[in-house]
Subunit: 146 residues, 3 copies
Amino acid sequence: MIKNQVFSCFVFYAVLLVIKMYVIAIITGQVRLRKKAFANPEDALRHGGLQYHRADPDVERCNRAHINDLENILPFLFLGAIYSLTGPSLSVARIHFLVFFMGRVLHSIAYLLALQAPTRSLAYSVAQIPCVSMAVQILMSVAAYA
Amino acid sequence: MIKNQVFSCFVFYAVLLVIKMYVIAIITGQVRLRKKAFANPEDALRHGGLQYHRADPDVERCNRAHINDLENILPFLFLGAIYSLTGPSLSVARIHFLVFFMGRVLHSIAYLLALQAPTRSLAYSVAQIPCVSMAVQILMSVAAYA
Amino acid sequence: MIKNQVFSCFVFYAVLLVIKMYVIAIITGQVRLRKKAFANPEDALRHGGLQYHRADPDVERCNRAHINDLENILPFLFLGAIYSLTGPSLSVARIHFLVFFMGRVLHSIAYLLALQAPTRSLAYSVAQIPCVSMAVQILMSVAAYA
């Protein structure tokens, strides 16, 4: 399976996106330390006192970016893997993966830097196109068996 | 793998559920626009001003429905795929997938329409039954190797 | 695939972690009932009245533990499956899965019991090591095809 070229191409972009999600987690932790805003009293106690057990708009922004990734990148890990097994051509498949990858990277940048609307929504919408395309193609290829 | 009947049956319902999650995202966006309640100041600015950077109970309800899907549908994408590879009979497997599918569709409807309790909890519980069943069957089939 | 020893070993720990996530959902429900704190008015109405439609720090702690699992265990389900297909030795692979498994179990315990910092962060960091290791090894094994 790992020698299937389409699958390997998918895995490449998928793993980069998982790493991108890990980076958001690291950024969230750094923002928490810099803004001294901790969700848990035990963390606040370790970093100066219970007054730092508080919410912060920058931390919440990181959290929203992360949750949006869960909502979109995690389903892609599934759709992309199954789609790779339906026998698409490498060039068409690569375009699907690349558009999703670039859309989601731009989404994270737009979110964390609070770029002017509708940059972030546009990035989200562009990344959804290959997902819907893959979902439809998968449904067509398994409909006969379902 | 895609020609494995059980796997294809799983993929069919799994992809429909992924699309169902995408629909919740779209509904959330529509509710945000209708109620004029945006999580990000840059979005509020584009839609009338910073006063619309605010929370809204209907938006939060959509968010909770979406997060509950992340907690339940995403693990199903994993469990169902692995379970399909353990060689269950098609009819038994289809019942697992169908019960989960119908439970989760009802869960979303009950959540978004705020149907009387315990409709939503019941839908959640019913959908958990095939998941626990698949988890147990998978564990039994790999225990020898672990 | 299910007869691949490394894959079976991965599946064993992965399914246990999915069950661990289900347990957090059950605990959250129990805490909601005990503290009488419901996110939805329809649930509050069923359990004594709208005054119980309220937030509670213990419920929010459960929610944070659960979301942290979504952010970390769900990507592991993907990374571990792909990594298993790259042909690692069973002993090395098992260490990856076991470290992640134990790190995440400790993370949940530290979160729910509010253990002194930095127990929880340490468990999170330890569990990330095998994930980053698997991500790098996967990237190296597919880079030629991407």
